[in-house]
Symmetry: C2
Subunit: 461 residues, 2 copies
Amino acid sequence: MANKEIPYKIYLEESEMPKNWYNMRADMKNKPAPLLNPGTLKPMTKEELAPVFCDELIDQELNETDAYIPIPQEIRNFYKMYRPAPLVRAYCLEKKLQTPAKIYYKFEGNNTSGSHKLNSAIAQAYYAKKQGLKGVTTETGAGQWGTALSMACSYFDLDCKVYMVKVSYEQKPFRREVMRTYGASVTPSPSETTAVGRKILAQHPGTTGSLGCAISEAVEVATTNEGYRYVLGSVLNQVLLHQSIIGLETKIAMDKYDIKPDIIIGCAGGGSNLGGLISPFMGEKLRGEKDYQFIAVEPASCPSFTRGKFAYDFCDTGMICPLAKMYTLGSGFIPSANHAGGLRFHGMSSTLSQLYHDGYMEARAVEQTSVFEAAEQFARVEGILPAPESSHAIRVAIDEALKCKETGEEKTILFGLTGTGYFDMVAYEKFHEGSMTDYIPTDEDLQAGFDGIPKFPGNEF
Amino acid sequence: MANKEIPYKIYLEESEMPKNWYNMRADMKNKPAPLLNPGTLKPMTKEELAPVFCDELIDQELNETDAYIPIPQEIRNFYKMYRPAPLVRAYCLEKKLQTPAKIYYKFEGNNTSGSHKLNSAIAQAYYAKKQGLKGVTTETGAGQWGTALSMACSYFDLDCKVYMVKVSYEQKPFRREVMRTYGASVTPSPSETTAVGRKILAQHPGTTGSLGCAISEAVEVATTNEGYRYVLGSVLNQVLLHQSIIGLETKIAMDKYDIKPDIIIGCAGGGSNLGGLISPFMGEKLRGEKDYQFIAVEPASCPSFTRGKFAYDFCDTGMICPLAKMYTLGSGFIPSANHAGGLRFHGMSSTLSQLYHDGYMEARAVEQTSVFEAAEQFARVEGILPAPESSHAIRVAIDEALKCKETGEEKTILFGLTGTGYFDMVAYEKFHEGSMTDYIPTDEDLQAGFDGIPKFPGNEF
C-alpha cells in the first residue's frame, strides 16, 4: 500500500484486530524491579498478592517472559463494541499550523467512558467474574477509570465500589451520574467509610484528596469484604499489558499504509495510555530493529518523571500497598488544588520508569494554561473536544510540529488522544474566563514529598 | 457479500462515502406544501426569503425536482473528520432481550457536538461563508444544534450567535462552555436582547422558553444586523437534504452486506434525523421499488404527529416567520417543564408531515420515564450512553424487538442513534432518584395551542 493516499481516519477490519496483548517486559534487558512487601522488603509472592488482586491478573503482573498473551474471546467480543479505535491523520491541524510534519493521533474517546481506560477495565472485570467474585473496588481521579470500570462491571454483572478523589468528585458531578447509570456506588475520598480515610482526614483536614488516598481506601474495602478484590486503572504491569491494544492497533494501521512514526507522544499520569501506545514500537526499539523518539508528557504541577526520584516507594498515601520502584514524588505528594483533571498520581509505572531510566524515552513537563491553549486550538480545527489529560500530548505534538515548520523537516508525529473532555467543562470555563492558573512546585515543596520515601539499604536516591 | 458474517460495526471506506445528498421531494407525488408569506398568504419567493436565509440554501429549500444534489468538496472534507458514522449491529442488546430480531443502529454521536446536527451545520456554515457573510444566528434546544453550529462556524471563521431555550440553558450549563470553546456567544431565550424576547417575557413572565421563542429572537437578530443570516437545525427541507447523508451511508453499508431492514425507526422533534435516516429507503418506497415500515417516535408531552393538526402554522412563537404546512400543536405550545431534553418543537418538517399524511409512515408517542428505562438498558449492554432524544427511538426498537420475541419473527430493525447523553446527566439523575415524572397534555391543554393556529380559507383543520 506504499504511496496510497492516506485517509483521514484509518479503521481496521475486525479480522485485522489483535488477538494477543504484547508484554514489553519480555523484550527488556533490564526488567522492572519487582513489587516489595513493605514489611519484609522481599519481592511480593503470588500468595501475598492474592488477597488484593484477582489470581489471573497477578499472573499477568508477574509475567516478564511471555511476549504475547492471548486476549480471551469474551474480552475480544467486548472490544468489538467500541474498537478498533480510529487512527486519524490530523490534516486540519497540519494545515492550521502550516507545518511540513505529518501528524497522526490514535483516538480512544469513542466510548461512553470517554477514554482508553475501558481497555483494561473490561479485562480486569472479566478475570474477576471468572474467579467467581462478587465485586471489585477501585479509585478514580478524573473519573474516566471509574466510569470505564462501572461499564465493565455492568456488562459482567459485578458490584463496583468507586472511591473518587474529592476534588474531581466536586468538579465533575455528572461523572457520578454516569457511574450510577451503570450501577456503581461512588464515594468521595478521603471518606469516613474506611479506617485509612478517617486517619488521613484527621491528619489533613480539608484535603482535596489524591489518588494515593483513594487507593488506600479502595484496597482496605477490598481486603476486608468477602468476595471482593481491588483493581487499578494504571501504573501496574497488567494494565500496560491490556493497554497494548492501543499501540498494536496503531501499528497494524500504520504498517498497512507504510507509515513509520519518528516521534511518539503520550501523556503520562501512571503510564497506562503511554505504555499501551508505545508498546509494540518500544518492542522494536528494545530488540534493536527500529528506532523511535518517545516523549512522555506530564503536568508541571505533578512532575514524576522530570523531577521525581527513581526509588522504591508506596503506591498509596496510607502506605498499605506494596512498594514499587518508580519515578516518584513521594506517596504524600498531593498536586496543588488548581491542578485540573487527572495525571495527578505521585508515581509512575515501574516498566516505564525503568525504560526512562535506561534512556529509551524522554519526558517533558508542561503547564496547564498552555495545555488548554493547545486543547482549544485542536478542538477548533479537528472537531474533537479533548480531555485535559490528552491535551498534554497535543501540546507537545504541536510544539514538535512547529519545530518542523522552522527546520523544514517532514517528521511523522504520532500521539495518543486518550479521551474526550465532555466532563471537564468546569476547567474549560476557568480557562475561558482567565481564572485558570499554573503552578510549578518549588524544590522545597517537592522535598517534603521526597522525605516520605522509605529509607532502607539499596533504596538510596 | 451475501451470507458474510456481519461485523459489530460496519464502517464505509472514504471512497464509498456518498458524493451527493438525496432530495426525497423529487420522488414525492404529493409535494410538501410551500412556505407562505403570512401577510399575503402566497408562497414565499426567493427574494422574500433572502433577508433571512443564505441564497444557496434557499435554492435547496425550494428545489423539489433534483433528486441528487452534489455535496461540495469542502463539506465532504469536513465530513471525513467524523464520518462515516458506524452502522452497529446491536448483538449485545439482542442477546439481552433474547429476541430473534436483528437490531442495527446508525450511531451519529461520534463527534464533539454529540449528534447528527453537525451534518447540516457544516453545510449551512459553508454556504454562509461562500456568500461572504459575517456570521449566523440560530436557536438551540437541548444544545446539540448550537454546539454543532459553533463547531462549523469555528471551522469557517464565522461569528455565531446562539439563542438557547432557557430551560435547557439552565439544565445544561456545560453545553454553553462547549459552544464558547468554539467561540460562539450564547443567550438564554427568551431574553431582553430582542424586541420579540421582551414581548414574550412580558406576556409570559417566568416562562422556561421554547424553540419557537428562540427562533423568533434569532431571526430578529439576523434580519436587523448587516451581514448576518438565520440558520435552523431542523424542520426545513434543506436540513433534511443535508441529513440524508445518514440514510445514504446506512443504505450503502446495508447493501454491502445484503441487509434489508423491515422496520426503520427514528426519533422526531422537527424531523431532521428521522428525515435523514429514512431518505433513501423512503425513496425506494415512493418509487414503488421496495417496502419498509417507518416509525417516527415523539415524546408524549410534545405529540405533534400523533395529536397535532395538519395545517399551516407559524414556525415560531413570535409569529414573524413564514407559515409552514405541517403537523402542529400551535406555535404557542410549550412543553411542560418536566420534559427533559430536546424534541420540544411544536411543529414538524413539512416533508415528513406530507409523507405521514399520505400514509407512508407511522408515528408513536412515548413517555419519558419509559424512554430513560430503555436508555439505561441500552447503555448497560451496548456501552454507549444515549441522548434522551435518541432514546425515544431505542424505546420503540426494544418494543418491536420484544414483539418479535413473542411472535418468533426474525425482523430486521434499524434505528437512528442520533447522539450521546453526556450533557443530559441532570435528567439521568432525576431518573435515578425517581423524581422524573411523565406528562401527557390533556385535550384542553392542546386546544389552547390549536386556538393559536391562524385561520384563513384553505387552512381548515
